[in-house]
Assembly symmetry: C2
Homo-oligomer: 428 residues x 2
């Protein structure tokens, strides 16, 4: 950046570092391109957060530093003698850099860019391959993307040069994707490590570097499971490896947003060590297998007090095949009329499963009579399975036509511990 | 109970304490009446949990103690010189005793029964009045019950003899009720304390006694808010007073199931002391007011990956007036097509609000461009308000016809901190 001259000062443009004075407050930050005809001016603060300022409240804007374009340097990456990993980039904050002009994200997809942002990663491992099946914020990821991702990971599983796989991913639906990969990829022979960042790389508080370095440690370990690696606490000191089917985003912005649910972390990971905390799967005798069948007509419904069960008819009409209900407490519906309606849609072929709205803990329909009635109506109570995991698993189970044609088989599969999603995580 | 004789041994009946032998396991517990034509035998274990045993797996049943009916004694409750409180019983585990014959719950509604189960409560306070607006498991409570409850509490607020009010309530939807009362009852002049138990009174691990005793301490305090009092940890040693609009059931069975969300506990309470931990409201100059208007056509929808937004049309068709969406991350929808659909239903008059699926943390639609587009589509982003609280508040706001006819007013009211539901809990 160059110092602002008096002439520049007249017209602040996106990318400029400015001082904005309102009646009572003054803000410093980088001006972003404002969306459309907006009456709001967007400013990226030093903390990394964007704020919107109502234009008519602004008394003065001073340009402190003018915007200048950065030039990309060509970097030579030396990693010949290091153990090799595969990297799959799918988007999200960790795979993006901020365009300081527009505030929009630009994707980091070349090894050079990755190196420039995360040089520490290349001290530990050699990157055999960077695959980019798609680049998007994870809120837009759906089952088709899970399939694409599984196919690419499967290819890397079979590549003997590669010790482990790191997948960078947005945080919003990361726990759904980790579940999907856990069901789609069977008999793993190496670690499949999903990682993320909650704060963008241009922020001092970014969690990307530590998460990636710990992901590299995990990728070289003997864990043969789909795991999620990220900050264990709000400090930037160590990470946890968390089980792919028993993890949930539990904070919108904290660096330790992901917490294990009804499970313990698999390992504690620092920048150079991995300390196992619980039992995990290691490479077995069978070869890796991909099994990515998926029925897209599955839905998740969280119940609320006084809810009218008639909404279930809409799912019937729209030809849904399966529904996961997030029930109250140990597994209760919001009214007696629900039992009749659930029997009805069950008879018409919709498979209904139940998970806990409390998130933590296990369902137990036998404790109260209401739960016993409900169980008789043909709902499959999924013990301590997370609702998010349950949705993915239901789609996966119903995607198998040979299972889906037989209700007993569906029931059996939903309660079989396929990928550590049930209480006894590794009883398989 | 009397010892079983050899003759009794032949026919075990519900209420008997028995030993059941299977091929490999032996269970001890009280036989419960089995539901209907069931092929399952229900047994209440000493831990208090019920288990179902498949009848054909049973090799032998031994009766260890025969069932005998308990007789109710008449008890004289002395509480003349003690400070008076009002008690409102609404059902739930805390207001029930187990019928050892059927396993069904029987409600405790008389002061005598309450005394027999919770004598400690009567050492601290005199009970001026026990009100019973309804008795039910809280999963069946809806907005009509919230109104009934508010009316009864309001009556007790105006009774000068009463220092505070304890409401016993089931746990499943307790946090929805605490929100409803927080909005329905304005300008409180005394504590309104909701309490509960997660384990029934017949279990050694019951949390009912400590919760009730701590509730009594809270009911005599100067807190003039709707609060929830219950176990702070899994130990039976002290409770927290939690803010009525910032609390959520986060475990299906643990005694410390209720946790504050985006807030701190108001106070730590032992059996005889209350230690304030954060600022709280005390009695003001204005008289208590009841404002229980409520629009029942409000819904909560938790989004999931790849979800088809067409389901929103069903809510339009069913004439819903408001929807709270539980969005991903900082406030994101599962696909770009959602923005169009949301604009569409917004135009047709449905008010759409957003809360965080992550539970903890705050929404911030300005960070990513997807969120900014969404904000322009007319969604009201509810900062760090809990989705459950948001649903109740939306029903309350839309219930006021004078507000509901003006979208700007609705927007303003949803983002006004009415009962500590937003970040600055007590900025009102």
């Amino acid at each position: 950046m160059k110092k602002a001259t008096s002439k520049d000062r007249e017209k602040p443009i996106p990318g400029d570092f400015v001082e904005i004075s309102l009646m009572k407050k003054t803000y410093h930050g980088t001006l972003l391109e404002s969306p459309g005809e907006s009456s709001i001016l967007l400013l990226k603060l030093k903390s990394g957060y964007n704020i919107g300022i109502i234009k008519k409240d602004i008394r003065e804007i001073k340009i402190l530093e003018k915007f200048t374009e950065k030039k990309e340097e060509k970097i030579e990456i030396k990693s010949k003698d290091k153990p090799k990993i595969g990297v799959v980039m799918t988007g999200g904050t960790i795979s993006s850099e901020l365009d300081s002009k527009t505030g929009a994200v630009k994707w980091l997809t070349s090894p050079e860019k990755l190196f420039r942002f995360y040089p520490e990663l290349f001290e530990k491992v050699g990157i055999s391959k960077i695959e980019v099946p798609f680049m998007k914020g994870s809120e837009y990821i759906n089952y088709k993307d899970w399939k694409k991702l599984a196919k690419i990971v499967f290819k890397l599983l079979k590549n003997p040069e590669i010790k482990g796989i790191i997948i960078t991913h947005g945080t919003d639906t990361l726990h759904y994707t980790s579940s999907a990969l856990s069901f789609f990829l069977r008999h793993l022979n190496k670690p499949v490590v999903l990682t993320y960042s909650q704060r963008s790389t241009d922020r001092a508080s970014s969690d990307a570097s530590l998460n990636l370095e710990c992901a590299a440690v995990a990728a070289l370990s003997d864990i043969a499971e789909v795991i999620l690696v990220g900050h264990a606490t709000t400090n930037d000191d160590f990470c946890y490896a968390l089980p792919g089917t028993k993890v949930r985003k539990l904070h919108s912005s904290r660096r330790d947003a992901f917490k294990p649910v009804n499970a313990k972390p698999i390992a504690k990971i620092t920048r150079d060590t991995l300390i196992p905390l619980t039992r995990y799967k290691t490479k077995g005798k069978e070869n890796p297998k991909i099994d990515d069948k998926f029925e897209e007509k599955v839905a998740l419904i969280k119940v609320y007090p006084g809810q009218n069960p008639d909404i279930l008819d809409s799912y019937l009409k729209k030809k849904y095949k399966g529904i996961v209900l997030e029930l109250f407490g140990l597994g209760h519906v919001p009214g007696k009329e629900w039992i009749k309606k659930l029997k009805e849609i069950r008879k018409k072929g919709i498979v209904v499963c139940a998970a806990a709205q409390t998130i933590f803990g296990r369902l137990d329909p036998l404790v109260y009579s209401a739960g016993r009635d409900l169980e008789k109506s043909g709902i499959i109570f999924l013990e301590d399975m997370l609702a998010e995991t349950a949705l993915v698993k239901l789609g996966w189970v119903l995607g198998h036509k040979e299972w889906a044609k037989n209700y007993e088989k569906i029931h059996e599969k939903m309660l079989e511990n396929v990928a550590g999603e049930l209480l006894g995580r590794l009883e398989e």
